[in-house]
Each structure stands twice: as structure tokens, then as C-alpha cells.
């Protein structure tokens, strides 16, 4: 993941965009994460016959190649489906700017290199209006924690853990195993018995039936 993310921004003036809208449940039956971009915002993007809805923002010729969304508040609430992030990334979205994010969505985004940047409402409104007037290209500089556009520069806050993950893109599993396997093993030795006892083979057979 580069330290700087650049792209065209689209106004996405909706609050409470839930992950059911980002990707409907019917597309969760696919067993892989590649290729989900075509189902992104499926019911907002396409009508019942599968034709693009002219009034949906990403179908607007001006924003078809946008890679940054300027949303409202509470983006990505609801279901934990990581498919929502996979669909955004597969479609080509590199960053979402919003007033706030669903917690699980935010965590999923970090793990897939999708930058989620929280900004105040007034700033978002200004950016959306700017993007509506004419093409808006943004650069999100994760290293310096600033967003640059036109001749302006906006500071933002992002938690350090997320920033590091976004910038290094390292596998969290490899990282944990390399640095903390010993401590995990030690922890398991001192767990209280009710917590440490898992499903024994006899009970397992009864439950599985």
C-alpha cells in the first residue's frame, strides 16, 4: 500500500449506508472475493432488469471512474460482511471519506487496504459541493495525514494502528505469529478451567448427531 492515495472523488451524499446496500446478501453465496465489484451497490446501480439506473451517482458519466467516495455519516453500518469491502476494492474504490464508519466495516477496510478517513460534516459537505462543480482529484497522504486538492491541504486524524496497517499492508496473521506466539502459548497455560475446556469428543458426537 502506498503512502499516498490519489484519485477522482465522487460525492456520495447519503447517511447510514449499510453493508446490505453495498452488497446485497444474494451475492454472499459466492465462495471467493474476486470479481465482487460488479455487484457493488447492486440495487442502487441497476434496475430489476439489470440496466444501470441513470439517477445513481456512480452511473453518472462524470463519476464513473471515481475511486474516492465522499459520503455522509455512519458509512458501512450493519452486517459484518467483509464482502462489502471486497466489492468496493474490486470496483476500484481506494478510499471513503465520511463523518463516521461502522466499526466492523472500518476494521475490515483496514485489512484490505481501503482507507477510511473520518472528517467533520462541514468539510465533507464542502468537498461534495466542490466535486459537484467540476472534476475533483484528491490525494490522501497517509504519511503526513493530510488530504490535498486544488491548492488546499486538509489535516485529518487516523488511528496509528490503522495507518501502519494501511501503509505496510503486512499480513496481520504473520505478524501475530512471529511476534506473539510465545505469549499466546503462555496465556493458554494459565486460562481458568471453565474457559480452557473446549468441546470434548463425547459431547461433540452428541451435538453433531
Amino acid at each position: 500500500m502506498p503512502e499516498r492515495i490519489s484519485g477522482k472523488a465522487a460525492p456520495f451524499p447519503y447517511d447510514n449506508v449499510d453493508t446490505d446496500q453495498i452488497i446485497p446478501a444474494q451475492f454472499l453465496k459466492l465462495l471467493q472475493k474476486k470479481g465482487l465489484g460488479r455487484y457493488l451497490f447492486y440495487r442502487w446501480r441497476f434496475d430489476e432488469s439489470g440496466n444501470p439506473r441513470a439517477d445513481f451517482i456512480l452511473n453518472d458519466p462524470r463519476y464513473r471512474d471515481a475511486s474516492i467516495l465522499i459520503a455522509g455519516k455512519n458509512f458501512g453500518i450493519g452486517s459484518s460482511r467483509e464482502n462489502a469491502v471486497w466489492a468496493l476494492v474490486d470496483y476500484g474504490i481506494k478510499a471513503v471519506l465520511a463523518e463516521s464508519f461502522g466499526d466492523i466495516f472500518y476494521g475490515n477496510a483496514v485489512k484490505n487496504g481501503l482507507a477510511c478517513i473520518a472528517l467533520p460534516e462541514s468539510v465533507l459537505r464542502e468537498l461534495r459541493e466542490r466535486a459537484e462543480r467540476s472534476e475533483l482529484y484528491l490525494t490522501i497522504d497517509l504519511g503526513r495525514k493530510v488530504i490535498e486538492y486544488d491548492d488546499r491541504s486538509l489535516e485529518f486524524n487516523v488511528d496509528e494502528y490503522a495507518r501502519r496497517r494501511l501503509m505496510t499492508g503486512e499480513s496481520e496473521i504473520e505478524y501475530t505469529m512471529r511476534n506473539y506466539l510465545n505469549r499466546i502459548e503462555e496465556y493458554e497455560k494459565r486460562m481458568p478451567s471453565f474457559a480452557a475446556r473446549g468441546i470434548d469428543s463425547v459431547t461433540r458426537r452428541i451435538l453433531e448427531g
Partner: protein, 473 residues
Amino acid sequence: MHLTITDKIWEAHEIAREEGVSLLYIDRHLTHEVTSPVAFSDMREKGYRIRRPDLTLAVMDHNVPTDSKERPTMDELSKQQMDALWKNARDFDVPLLDFYSPYQGIIHVVGPELGFSLPGLTIAAGDSHTSTHGALGALSFGIGTSEVEHVFVTQTLWIKKPKQFRITMNGEPRMGVTPKDLALYMIGQIGTGGAIGHIIEFGGSAISGMGVEGRMTLCNMSIEAGARTAIVEPDEKTFEYLKNAPLAPKDDWDEAVKYWRTLKSDPKAEYDKSISFDVRDVKPMVTWGTNPAMVAPVDGRVPNPAEVKDQQQRAEYERALKYMDLRPGQPITDIKIDYVFIGSCTNARLSDLIEAASFLKGRKISPDVRAFLVPGSEWVRRKAERLGLHEIFMNSGFEWRHSGCSMCIAMNADRVPSGKRAASTSNRNFENRQGPGARTHLVSPLMAAAAAVYGRFVDVTELDLDREVLSLA
């Protein structure tokens, strides 16, 4: 230092901390067929193993057919996803409650009822409604698929400690007002993002007076207010609920209870945010819009968007009314419904079924309504049948189904047809949630039962309930 229950469980499980993010040991991991396949295939590719299969429980729930065990209706993709879990569980030696298991059900119903979920534990699952397990006094987290894989391989999770939000509910709700109504009322008050970044700790006399299953409904719905998760201090009711569960402690029961009794928030503990309300003011609630915060009391009306000041919110309301095909100012009791769904991880436990049956006994549903009763687990189904509840439901005209997520998420064949309107005990009224074009009103099981009989919403606080059925609770 004055600690909350969250602080205590967090501290006991924290293995490391980096940049304010903790590495927590995860004591129990539930997994289902929808959010696990990518994790399993990546593990295969990388040669990973599951660290503690014995602390892991796989359950088929989202796709499972609920019409029949012998001749189930299912599409090819659902079958593939269930087959994949079966193969993954076998290859990675994970205990699996498959479609035919006598204990199959929705993970958030199965975990607590089997005693897989216990007080003081950390619990994770690739499902947002994992907050449900907090009702037992556990710290539970809904996670994405990358994190599912992380828990599989390391039995830990990197997680930022949420801020803490204390919600105190005092008083005794009026007859007919249920935990679901309290949940919807709360979400209406604080909004869909009201608890983002927070764990909600519920307390107060209404919570201690509430049954453990009701607390599950409340914790379950917390995610709809944006909460990272929710928790309730365990008490005697919790211990009673777990006492003979198949996976609860046996020889070390007393020792475990002794520890669980310490899981209380210190009286002087501080919270980042707190609110309290009196539940006596709460009425049965009905959602009118396309997120759970768009909710009104049953004696209220659909709002008029023209009266909303905020431009973006007005647009959102207009869009919701259009999707829901409702008029501004329409009384809630004028809304006619076509489908009733009593089910889901929110409201399909035995107490929910008893609540619905207490009104349905001796009554028939409207001929214009199709009504589904989908128990939260096969065990709940058997327990209900032993009490004769299935006869009450079937005699009234409900379809008595097998367990699964069913019409809450419409991944199996159970769905609300386009343009039809459902009274649903589930958790999400998002556009297209119960099927493409489906219109959802979230309500309690009792409200759903009454709506099935009248074909529209009615105020259940004015109805006669069967005392004998209620006493089964």
C-alpha cells in the same frame, strides 16, 4: 481504580498492546457457512491450521432450508456454501452442527443455549449480531472474514478497546411491552450511529428484572445503534439459564460461578457516555422506514418529511417513505401487512415463542396474511413442541418451520415477495433485506402475532393474553 465489567474481562484477556490496539485471547469462536469460506481457502493456500478446533464451533444457519429436513428446498449456491462448510469442518477438524444436527440453529441462539458461550469469556464470530452473547456477561465481537482467519490461526484478535456507554433502564415495562420494544425505542433515541465506537453496558432495574433471553434481544439489537458490542452483568438468572447446558462447567461449576459473581462494574466506575430512561414510558414500537432508528410507537404516525429540518435527513425520510410506500402522517395502526415472520437471532428463543403464543392461542390469523414461525434452533423447536406451542401456532395458521436465519436475510428460499409488506421480529429493515423489493416493519414477537391476526398493526397493550401460556415462561 474503579473498573467496569468490560475493563475486567478485557484485562484478563489482553496479551499485548500496540499503538492503543490490544491483542485479545479469544475463548470461543463461532463460525457459519457465509463468512468462513474465504478464510478456509486462504488457510489451505498458506498451510495454516486451526489453533484450537475444540474452542471453535461451526454451524450452518444463513442458507439452511426451513421447510423440511427430508425434502428441503434449496438453490445450488446455497447447497455449495453448506457443502463447503461441511468439507472445511472435516478437513480442519472443527465441531460442526450441520443441517441434520439435532442442535443446529442460528449461532447466536445455539452458542448461549449450549453453554458454549459463558460469562467472562471473550467470544468472536463472523457475524455482526455476535453482540448477543454479551447478555451472559461475555465480551463478544462480530468480526469480518480476515479476522475470522486470524482467530482460526492464532486464537486472538487485534482490537481497539471500545469506549464505554452505560445505558440504564429502570422500572417495569407495561404489559405487552417487550425487550424488543425497549431495543427499538433505544435505537430511535440514539440513532443508528449513536453508539459507534462504544460497547453498551446495560443495567438498571428493568435489566435485572428481564429474563436472560430478553437481554439477548437487547444486546443483539445494540449493533443496530452502531455499538461495537454490548454487555450485561451476569446474575443468578444467568447462572440458572446456564446451569445444565451441555457445554457449561460441570465439576468446576461452583468455582466458575464464584468467579462470575465478581464480574460486576464497580459502583464508582466511569463511562464515556451514559443515558438512562424509564421503561414505563415505552410503548410497543414499529419501524416505518429503512433503518431501525426510523421507528414510532404503535399509537403514533409515520413522520412527515416536510417537517424535518436537516436537508440530508429529509431526503433520507422521503426516500424511505417511497420505498416503504407509506404516506406522511399515516397512523401506524393503518398499515396493512401481508407477511409475518417470527424468527431470527433477535427473537426466536423459547420465551419469544411463548410471548407470541400467549396471544395466538385460540385465534386465527387473517386470511390475507402468510405467517412463518421459524424457531432459533432445533432445540428451541423441540422445547416448544414439548410445551405444545407448535399446535397453537399451527392451529392459528402459522407455518411451523425448522430453524435457520430464514426470512431475516433471505438467503434461503424464505423471502418476502417484492412490494409485499412484512411484520418481522428480525433486526434489520434495510431496503431489500427480506428479499428484493420487500418492505419490512420490525416489531416484537407479540406485535407480530397480533399483526398476523388483525392483518395490520394493533396496540398489544390493549389485548388479552393467555395467562396459562404466559406462565410457561
